[in-house]
Symmetry: C2
Subunit: 260 residues, 2 copies
């Protein structure tokens, strides 16, 4: 298929490369910053454009891969009466934001964290799809099936819940890694010491439900250890508070209805 | 070396197997539950014993691998004047708890989460060592070096901080996976959808510092998305509260001193 990519950040770059590798033709790349569009366009054998209104009328699909609060502006600047399907790629933006401007539209949400420097195998990335009608859905599905083994329909509210789950399982988890790093540093120890534990913890839930593999002082109700930990954290009140809160929450879910 | 294993739980089992595979001879296994001692002893070619007082006088090392609050009792029941080194394996128990009972003692703390069903490659497991003197340290170091590529000295306070870091990076992280599972289920979505994200999040910090790869609405100060998330969580007040607290903390560490 012929594709126009509107955006040039991490997600746009990974998506553009994956679509290109799957045999699709990226016609154009738009970025607010001309230089960024040019770099990505060159890598994809596409043309850089300066404004969404310059988008080709010949594409089968247009991907809006910009910051959430820029989606509506970019869409409003696209040429009228496009025959292709226009899809945004955001977790927490309703599909209907596109409705006033378009007839054929949808959402194409790849659930993964994308880095500038790290390659991603798209085949394992779940892609959540939503579209205004079956025809538009079919186009997005065909594109998604070429990239990923895990393509599924998902309405805007479910997609929002997916994004929330991703914030807990990715962004907040990474924050806890930072806290661990902070605790280790303050005792002259290196974060590399807990890397094997971090990886094993993630690998455990690849096959198990997280509730079934919960370990630690809180699930054992080991109050002596928890008290020692709280005491060592007493000079970092914010961490002590978080330690106690999360311990209490683990106790609640693993011993429901028994009180702390 | 000749080794006596006091304990038969997950850590004792993994440690016993690893020591045996490294060529050491496990003489005896003690457990409060005779049947557990027998199962593990049989697998290791060792004898099961009913009481710590039956421990052989001939061992080079004695590993106390029982619950924290049972360590002192087990040690107090060992025969007097052992020539071998006695080590406990707990993260949050001071070495000096062994002092009243022994001359040659130390701590051998493998930093990993051990499951009943999942094999662990000990070579990547950091082992923190502490000992009363250089001779005892040397014995523990020789044993640890045979199992792991990452053996390091660590005093009791540092070891406590290691354990705290492990609680944040493993136990609390797993709790966040449970929260994600909970959010997904309540919108008829499956936890398997975020497994690739969980793994990628852990893999990212294998090479990077977690602070350098923090992503998400909080670090972008994307208040519109955060408000949407908080609203969808409004019927689960405990999760909404946790969402807002962790978002605030991420904002604080990534934009220090600028206020939320």
């Amino acid at each position: 298929m012929k594709i126009v990519l509107l955006g040039s950040g991490n997600v746009a770059t990974h998506l553009g490369k994956a679509l290109s590798a799957a045999g699709h033709q990226i016609l154009q790349v738009y970025s607010r910053t001309r230089a960024h569009a040019e770099v990505l366009a060159e890598g994809l054998g596409a043309a850089a454009i300066d404004h969404p209104s310059e988008a080709s009328m010949d594409a089968d699909a247009y991907f809006i891969v910009v910051k959430d609060d820029a989606i509506e502006e970019v869409v409003s600047q696209l040429p009228r009466r496009l025959k292709g399907v226009v899809a945004h790629t955001a977790g927490s933006v309703e599909m209907d934001i596109l409705k006033p401007y378009l007839d054929r539209y949808g959402v194409f949400y790849p659930l993964q964290t994308f880095s500038k420097t790290k390659a991603i195998s798209f085949s394992a990335v779940p892609i959540a799809l939503e579209a205004v009608d079956a025809t538009a859905y079919g186009v997005l599905e065909q594109l998604a099936d070429g990239l990923s083994d895990r393509v599924f329909p998902c309405d805007s509210k479910q997609r929002l819940s997916l994004h929330i789950a991703a914030v807990f399982a990715c962004n907040f988890t990474n924050y806890l890694y930072s806290v661990a790093d902070n605790v280790l540093r303050s005792h002259n120890l290196d974060f590399s010491l807990i890397r094997p534990l971090v990886l094993e913890t993630a690998q455990k839930v690849m096959e198990h439900s997280p509730r079934d593999v919960q370990t630690g002082p809180a699930v054992r109700r080991d109050r002596i250890t928890m008290a020692k930990h709280a005491e060592l954290l007493s000079d970092q009140e914010d961490l002590r508070e978080l330690y106690l809160l999360l311990s209490e929450r683990i106790d609640e879910i693993t011993h429901p209805g028994t009180g702390f």
